[in-house]
């Protein structure tokens, strides 16, 4: 915004003021912001789901300010939308056939779901190519793949928070010595140690690493090499930034990432970080560990979490959601009277319930879970897009 408040402007001659007034008028500079028409249900759903560009959000909010009726409509749409998210996808598909407002909301939501699911597979690649900072810029422009990437980052944050509730032996499984980060592509005898990994007060994630030899001495052996930082949960890695090692160190300061992950201010364990050096790519896992929050009968989180295993990726095929889920025997026994609730991350602030399955129906084998929703096109989803909870079985 320009700073016009200069002293000399106070002393402009009357003729100069007349000139600047006419110039401003000729530029239509005195017009108030243009108010768009009342937003449609589709736009309101996308607004609530944070799936518009910054510019579109500003337009919707100007319209809401100008139209009391639009604000009332937003409240009604939000109520429908909350109900729809908590319904199974099969129920949403049924609601979408109604001609009333709820039907409109359900149709808008299913359209957005279809778009979002289709972009999920691209999201990890986009994060790898653009990093979190590049993705943030694209989100502001309303890029759908970037919004899917943002959603995945949020879902990854949800997994991290569930991981914090896991018993320590599971949560710190892979990293070896304290402070060392899991690395692929490092020459033998070289390791990377964290000097700083912290979510700051302003929501940024700051990570600094030092390259060291086996004896623990800092070395410049990797100076000039590209390094790709990712967040890691067991087998899965979510790429977030790249950089070049300078001398014996590399550092990132990623604005807003801590907030996007939903992480509180404070230190982040190196167990959840991953570095790929040079052209080395993170491994592509055949199975995925998913942390599962245990919730009480009202759906409120408890302090417990367990893990389950996904065989392959969840997917939409022919209007049906499919995922192969294996449960550890101790989980089946401990939570025999519970059911598994599965939801799909839609935006960082919303998700859609897929369905629920009682745990007592599992055997030692993986079980294929399915749910029908003919409106969703075929798509393969990253495992982390799935949000799993264990809730006491109803009745």
């Amino acid at each position: 915004m320009s700073d016009l408040s200069r002293e000399e402007n106070q002393r402009l001659a009357p003729g100069s003021l007349a000139l600047v007034e006419a110039w401003l008028e000729s530029q239509q500079a005195f017009a108030p912001p243009v108010v768009a028409a009342r937003p449609s249900v589709d736009t309101l759903v996308r607004y609530l789901a944070a799936s518009l560009s910054s510019q579109e959000v500003a337009q919707v909010e100007r319209s809401l300010v100008a139209h009391a009726a639009a604000r009332r409509n937003l409240l009604d749409v939000r109520q429908d939308w909350n109900h729809i998210q908590a319904s199974s996808v099969a129920e949403v598909a049924r609601l979408a056939r109604n001609e009333d407002r709820t039907g409109q909301v359900a149709r808008a939501w299913l359209t957005l779901m279809g778009e979002r699911q289709g972009k999920m597979a691209l999201a990890l690649r986009l994060l790898a190519s653009h990093g979190w900072e590049g993705v943030q810029r694209l989100i502001a422009e309303g890029d759908a793949a970037a919004q899917a990437a943002w959603t995945l980052v949020g879902a990854f944050g949800g997994q991290l928070q569930a991981a914090f509730k896991m018993p320590p032996r599971l949560a710190t499984a892979k990293s070896g010595a304290a402070g060392l980060v899991a690395v692929v592509g490092a020459p033998e005898g070289i390791s990377l140690e964290i000097s700083e990994a912290e979510v700051e007060t302003n929501g940024a994630l700051r990570v600094s690493l030092i390259v060291q030899e086996a004896q623990g001495r800092a070395t410049e052996a990797l100076s000039g090499m590209a390094a790709h930082l990712g967040l890691r949960i067991e087998e899965d890695v979510c790429p977030i930034a790249s950089g070049v090692i300078e001398g014996n160190q590399i550092a990132w300061n990623l604005a807003g990432l801590g907030s996007a992950l939903g992480l509180p201010e404070g230190r982040l364990s190196p167990d959840y970080l991953h570095i790929a050096l040079g052209e080395a790519a993170p491994p592509v896992p055949e199975k995925h560990t998913l942390y599962v929050e245990v919730v009480d009968a009202r759906g409120a989180p408890t302090r417990r979490a367990v893990s389950l295993e996904l065989r392959g990726e969840p997917r939409w095929e022919g209007g049906q959601f499919r995922v192969d889920v294996a449960l550890l025997p101790e989980v089946r026994i401990a939570y025999e009277t519970h059911r598994l609730l599965l939801s799909l991350a839609m935006t960082p602030q919303s998700e859609q319930q897929i369905g629920s399955w009682p745990l007592n129906e599992w055997s030692e084998e993986a079980r294929t879970l399915t749910a029908s929703c003919p409106d969703i096109p075929d798509a393969v989803l990253p495992a982390v897009a799935l949000h799993a909870r264990l809730a006491p079985a109803e009745g």
Binding site: N9, S26, A50, V65
Partner: protein, 378 residues
């Protein structure tokens, strides 16, 4: 900057540059001749502008580049001379007399600050900048925040004070979070809802009724969309049939004409047949009700004295500025849309006050200088 590049191109003999430069100069001259030379007819202004164009083209060879403000000053001065000729040729008295250069001349020492103003504002989204500037200056919104956040603050205030949602409801569900924006904390939202600038913005928005909004209110339709639907319906409906708000379609059309919504060329409304209607429209105006509503909402805010918050000049200057510069309302109409509401909070906006604010471009000067011209009752 486009103007500057085109001016240099024009002086270098590029015709395309002149076309672009002159298109902007034409718009400038329409405003300038109307505001300063009392040429209210667009046709009359076009006559003068054609004469100015010829003189400017003729002066190209000897014109010396001195920046964009000097160019507009030159165009304006040429326009004043051509305008004097036009008045003389048409046998009319122009608004020119002794001291004309003092009144309308642009001294050379003003070129630099004018260049800065034009350069600063001329880059992009100029209207947004002016609107923002006026809100920061007179409503005292936080100048460090963007216009989009100001809108969001107003929306939060509307949800809370007008729609009666709880702060928790607003916080938890109504604003989408964008990753590039800092998270709005509950404490921040609470601060917004008590910020004097935000509360003044709420009052400004509730009290600002340009013609279309006022017509919509009088006719009891929700907004401009419904108003325009009414315009369309009015064009095909029988005049004597009942329309809306107890009016016939003929009366609805007359009301729409009165507020300048449509049918402006129609002279039948000036023949006195609808005076009974026009005289009573003010009774339906929203200003006192809106102010009472805002005062009632704000009484719930701890420590807020509505007279202190709203009964001072800046809020009313903000309204006067918008009505005068954008809506082009005469002072009398501005008074009708401000004074009654102002009196409810212990202030008054008589014509003498408006003349004081709006004559000599004082409000524009305040805006450009960034100083609200005193908070005391004037």
């Amino acid at each position: 900057m486009a103007d500057d590049a085109d001016l240099k191109g024009f002086l270098a003999g590029e015709d395309a540059a002149f076309d672009r430069l002159w298109e902007r100069a034409r718009r400038f001259l329409h405003a300038y001749l109307k505001n300063t030379c009392c040429l209210n007819s667009a046709d009359d202004r076009e006559d003068v502008i054609s004469a100015v164009a010829l003189k400017v083209l003729g002066a190209r060879a000897c014109y010396e580049y001195r920046g964009i403000a000097a160019w507009y000053a030159f165009v304006a001065k040429t326009a004043r001379w051509c305008c004097m000729d036009w008045y003389r040729e048409n046998g009319k008295y122009g608004p020119f007399g002794e001291g004309e250069e003092e009144r309308l001349g642009v001294p050379e020492e003003d070129y630099a600050p004018l260049d800065t103003i034009i350069e600063d504002l001329g880059t992009e989204r100029i209207a947004e900048q002016i609107f923002h500037r006026a809100n920061v200056l007179w409503l005292e919104l936080d100048g460090a925040l963007s216009p989009a956040i100001h809108t969001r603050q107003l929306l939060a205030a509307q949800y809370f004070y007008l729609d009666k949602l709880s702060a928790q409801e607003i916080y938890s569900a109504l604003f989408p979070r964008m990753p590039e924006e800092p998270c709005l904390s509950r404490e921040e939202l609470d601060r917004w809802l008590e910020h004097p600038g935000v509360l003044r913005y709420l009052a400004y928005d509730a009290l600002y009724f340009p013609d279309n909004r006022l017509a919509a209110y009088v006719l009891k339709v929700d907004d401009e969309e419904e108003l325009f639907a009414l315009v369309r319906q009015g064009q095909t409906s029988a005049p004597e049939e009942a329309a809306i708000g107890g009016f016939t379609w003929a009366e609805v059309r007359a009301i729409l004409w009165f507020y300048g919504v449509f049918d402006q060329e129609n002279r039948e409304y000036k023949d006195g047949r609808f005076d009974y209607l026009f005289e009573r429209l003010a009774e339906r105006h929203p200003f006192t009700n809106q102010m009472a509503r805002i005062c009632s909402c704000l009484r719930a805010v701890p420590g807020v004295d509505t007279r202190q918050l709203l009964g001072k000049p800046p809020l009313w200057k903000r309204l006067a500025f918008q009505y005068s510069y954008y809506d082009r309302l005469p002072h009398k109409a501005i008074q009708e849309r401000t004074d009654a509401a102002a009196q409810q909070v212990g202030f008054a906006v008589p014509l003498s006050t408006l003349n004081g604010w709006l004559s000599g471009r004082k409000l524009l000067k305040e805006l450009l200088g960034g100083q609200a011209g005193g908070l005391s009752d004037e």
